[in-house]
Symmetry: C2
Subunit: 505 residues, 2 copies
C-alpha cells in the first residue's frame, strides 16, 4: 500500500478492467451452476405420490424418467456375446444332454436361458414348466413361483401376509402378478433408498445369525439382486406353515455349494426322483450371488450394480442405467472404469474363462448322463436298493455340483476358480458312482460298455424319456389363448389400464 | 523496464538476494545430481574383464557387487508361505501317494521341492535320483542332467560342442559343473544384455517356426528363465546325434499341455513303465513358463523378473534383486507395484487360489493311485495286453495331465483356471481308465472294491513298491564322502580357488 501513489495511472486501469473481467466470468460460472442445479431439481421433483408398494412402474417413471426409460430397454434382446446374450436361447436344443439329466422333472420339457427383466412375466406364463392350469387351484407349480417376477409380489404380501401369498397354486395369482420386475422391488418410494422386499433373503440372513438391515449401501447394491439371483427351495415342512411352499434359501451353514448340500442332506430334501436312475435329486436354481461372493470382484468390493447397472450420462445428468444386462455390452462403461486394457482384450479375457470352464463342465455332464443310463440298466437287470444306494448317493452329489454351476448366471466369469473346483468335485463323484455301477452291472452279467441313449438332438432326447412334446406344446398354446386374456383383463381393470403390454408370442 | 527507475531501492535488494538464493539452491541441486551420477559410474565401472562364458560368479561380482550380493542371498531358506517357501520340502513325506504314482522311476526314491539357485549343484549331487556312479561312465543319469545347473554349462558347450556335452554320463561332468546357476547363464559380459545360453530353448522356438532373437527385452526377462523352467525330455533318436540324450522341449505344436502330449504321442515317447500298472508313462518336468503363459499376468505383459526379481534400492541406487524367490516374501516390492490392496489381502488371494487347486489336484491323485493299483490286480488276475491297452492309455493321459500340474512351480497361482481345466481332464481320464478296469476285473472274477496299498507314510509306500531305502541312503552317503571331495579338488585347482563353497550336508 505504501507504494500505491507511486504507481503509473495506466496500471490502475489494467487492474480495474482485469477485475471487471474476472467478476464477469464468475457471474457466468454461477449462472451455469444454477442452471445445472435447476435441471436436476426439475428431474427429481416428484410429480406423482407413490404408495409403499406401488407396482405400476409407469407411475414411478413419471418421477424418474431417465431411470425408467433405461429400465424399459431390458426389452432389448439384440446383444450377443460368445456364450451369452440378451436373447432367450433354447438350452435343451443347444445341449440335449440336459433333457436326460432332468428326466422326470419339468426342466426336461422346456429350459431356456434368461433374458431381460422385461420378459419376467411373459416367460413364466409361456414356459411349459408352468403347465396348463384350468383353474386357480390347478397346475403343477405353487404360487411361490411368482415371488421373483415383479413388484405385485410385495404388494400382495403386504395385503395377504407372506404365508398366504406362498400358499395355493401358481394359477391363483395369474391376474395379480402382472407388472414385471421393477421399481418397488428394490426401492423405497419416499427416499428411493434400496430396500429388501422379499422375506426369504431377510430370513436367510437370520438363519446365518446375520442382520441384513445392517448392510451398507454398497452391499445393498448387490443384495437387492440377491433377493432372486440365488439358490432356493420350497420348504413344505415349516411348523408355522405346514404344506405351504415356503420360499427358503439353504444358507443356514453358509453360502458355499457344500454349505447348501449339508443343509439339504440334513433336511433329507430332494426336488425330484430321476426317471432313469431313480436318484433323489436336487435341482439347483441360479446361485449367482453365492458364486459371485467367491470371486475376485466381490473380494474387491465390487457390487452387482457396478457392472450390470453402470453409471451413464444424458446431457448434464449422470444416472444409474436400469437396463440391467451383460457388462460386455458396454465395456467402456463397466470393465474399463477399473481396467485399462482395450475392449478387445477384456472381452477375450472373459471368453477365455468361459471357454475353459465350459470344456470341463461339458465333460462332467457327459459322465453324469452315462451314470444315469448305467443306473437305469442296473435297475432293469434286477439290482437291489441296497446295491444301488451308494451309487445313487454319488450321482446325487455329482449332479448337485454340476447343476449348481450350470444353473448359475455368469459364474464362469464371476468365479472361474471356484467353479472349476466344483466341477472337479462333480467329476470325482460321477466317477465313484460309475465304478460302483460297473461292478453292480457286472454282477448281473452285464460286463460290457453300454449303448447310451441317442441324444444328438433335443427331440431325440425328449422322445427317449417318453415326453410327448407336440401334445404339451399344443395344450400350452390353447391355454395361452384361453386363459391369458382373462388374467390380463382383470389386471387391466384393477390397475386403471396401467399394466405393461407384453409381447404376444 | 520502463518502470525500473521508479521502484523503491529496497525492492532491488530483495530481487538481488532472492536471485542469489535461487542460484545457490540450483548449485546444490547440480552438485547432488553429479554426486549420484558419480556414484553410479563408480558402481558400474568394470573392475574385471570377463570372458564370454566366465563361469565364476565371484568375478562378475567384482563388477556388479549389489546384484552379486543379492544373488548370494538365494542361499537364504528362511521364507515360509502357506504352501511354499524357500526351504526344501520332502514332497514324498508330505504326500506318499507320489511314491506310488512314480513306482518304477527314480522320483519314487527321492523328490523334494526346489529351493534357491544357490543349492542347484549341491542338491543334484545329493539326491538319490543321480545314484552312486563309481566312475565317469557309470550311473543312471546322462550328462544332460547338468544342463540347468550353472554357467559351466555354456562354457563346456562352447568348448566341447553341444552334442558332445549331452553325450555320456552325468558323473563325467562332476568336476566340471561346479558353479551354481549364475551370471553367465543369462547375461552377456560385455553389454550385460540378457542372452539365451541354452540351445534347447532356441531350438524349441525354431520348432514352432519362431525366432527367439526377435524377442523384446521384456520377453527376455521371462525367456532367460524359460531356458530351464519348462517341460523337456531327452531325445535319443535325433538323426544327427543318435543315442545322445539330446535336451528337447516338446513345443513343436505349441506350448499347451495338449500340444506337448500330441508331440510325445507322435514320438511314441515314454519316460518309464509304471511298476504296478505297466503303463508307459510320461514324467512331466516343471512347465512353469508354459503354464505362466496361460495366466493373467502373462496376458498383461508381466515378466518372471517383474515379480521374482523386483527392483530394490540401496542408498541412492535402484537395481534388480537377484535373490530370485517367492514374490510373497516381498509383497510391497512385487504385487503392490500394480495392486493397491493390503499385503494381507493379496497374500490371502494367493492362498485361496492355491487351496482350491490343491483340493481337486489331491483328489485327482487319489483316483490315479487307485487306477494303478487296479491295473496291477488286473494283470495279476491274468488280463491280456489287448484288454488292458485302453485302460493304460487313459492312465497315461491322466497321469500326464496330473503331473504337468504337480511338477510345475507356482502354476496354481500363475494360471489357476488353466490348471483347474487340466486337473478336470485328468480326473475324466482316470475315470475312464477305472471303469474299463472294473469291467476287466469283473471278467476275471474280481468284482468287489479293492484294498488299496497302505500308503499312510513315505516309508510304507516305498516299502510297498519294494524299495530298500536304508541301503540306497547308505550307498549315497558313502558315495558323497568318497567322490565329491575329488570333484571339488579338481574344480578348485582348475578355477584358481574361485568356486563356491557349498553346504556339506
Amino acid at each position: 500500500m505504501v507504494t500505491d501513489n507511486k504507481r503509473a495511472p495506466w496500471i490502475n486501469w489494467v487492474l480495474f478492467f482485469g477485475t471487471m473481467l474476472i467478476v464477469f466470468l464468475l457471474g457466468l460460472l454461477a449462472s451455469s451452476i444454477t442452471q445445472r442445479k435447476a435441471e436436476s431439481e426439475y428431474v427429481y421433483k416428484p410429480k406423482v405420490s407413490l404408495s409403499e408398494y406401488e407396482p405400476r412402474n409407469v407411475l414411478w417413471g413419471e418421477n424418474f424418467p431417465r431411470e425408467y426409460q433405461s429400465y424399459l430397454q431390458t426389452a432389448d434382446t439384440s446383444f450377443r456375446s460368445k456364450y451369452n446374450g440378451s436373447a432367450m436361447i433354447d438350452e435343451l436344443k443347444e445341449d440335449p444332454r440336459l433333457v436326460i439329466l432332468w428326466a422326470g422333472y419339468a426342466f426336461s420339457k422346456d429350459y431356456s436361458s434368461s433374458r431381460g427383466h422385461y420378459y419376467a412375466i411373459h416367460d413364466i406364463r409361456y414356459t411349459l414348466r408352468t403347465g396348463t392350469p384350468q383353474g386357480p387351484n390347478d397346475g403343477p407349480q405353487p404360487a411361490t413361483c411368482w415371488t421373483c417376477k415383479g413388484p405385485d409380489v410385495p404388494r400382495l404380501m403386504e395385503k395377504m401376509g407372506v404365508k398366504d401369498f406362498y400358499n395355493g397354486k401358481w394359477a391363483a395369482r395369474g391376474s395379480e402378478v402382472v407388472n414385471y420386475i421393477g421399481c418397488a422391488d428394490c426401492h423405497d418410494p419416499k427416499t428411493m433408498d434400496l430396500r429388501i422386499t422379499r422375506p426369504a433373503l431377510i430370513e436367510a440372513f437370520q438363519s446365518m445369525g446375520k442382520d441384513i438391515s445392517k448392510a451398507s449401501h454398497q452391499e445393498m447394491r448387490s443384495l437387492v439382486c440377491a433377493q432372486c439371483h440365488v439358490e432356493y427351495y420350497f420348504n413344505k415342512h415349516r411348523p408355522d406353515a405346514p404344506d405351504v411352499s415356503y420360499l427358503t434359501f439353504p444358507w443356514k451353514y453358509g453360502t458355499t455349494v457344500e454349505d447348501a448340500l449339508k443343509y439339504y442332506e440334513e433336511e433329507k430334501y430332494s426336488d425330484f426322483t430321476h426317471q432313469m436312475s431313480k436318484t433323489p435329486l436336487l435341482k439347483a436354481q441360479h446361485p449367482d450371488y453365492e458364486l459371485f461372493l467367491t470371486g475376485i470382484h466381490a473380494d474387491r468390493g465390487v457390487a452387482c450394480a457396478d457392472c450390470h447397472m453402470p453409471y451413464i450420462k444424458e446431457g448434464g445428468q449422470k444416472f444409474t442405467s436400469h437396463k440391467i444386462t451383460s457388462p460386455l455390452s458396454n465395456i467402456s462403461g463397466t470393465c474399463q472404469v477399473c481396467h485399462r486394457e482395450s475392449e478387445e482384450v477384456l472381452r477375450e479375457n472373459v471368453y477365455e474363462r468361459q471357454e475353459k470352464v465350459k470344456e470341463i463342465r461339458d465333460k462332467a455332464e457327459i459322465e453324469l448322463v452315462k451314470a444315469h443310463s448305467e443306473a437305469k440298466v442296473a435297475w432293469e437287470a434286477g439290482a437291489s436298493e441296497k446295491e444301488m444306494e451308494p451309487a445313487l448317493h454319488h450321482i446325487r452329489v455329482a449332479q448337485w455340483y454340476w447343476d449348481y454351476i450350470g444353473a448359475s448366471h455368469g459364474a464362469s466369469f464371476h468365479s472361474p476358480i471356484e467353479v472349476s473346483r466344483i466341477i472337479g468335485n462333480s467329476i470325482i463323484e460321477s466317477e465313484e458312482a460309475r465304478i460302483i455301477l460297473a461292478r453292480v452291472l457286472a454282477g448281473k452279467g452285464k460286463n460290457t460298455e453300454l449303448l447310451y441313449p441317442d441324444i444328438v438332438s433335443k427331440e431325440k432326447a425328449q422322445k427317449n424319456i417318453g415326453l410327448s412334446m407336440d401334445q404339451l406344446q399344443k395344450e400350452k398354446k390353447e391355454w395361452i389363448k384361453a386363459i391369458l386374456p382373462e388374467w390380463d383383463k382383470q389386471a387391466w381393470d384393477r390397475e386403471e389400464k396401467m399394466v405393461p403390454q407384453l409381447p404376444k408370442d
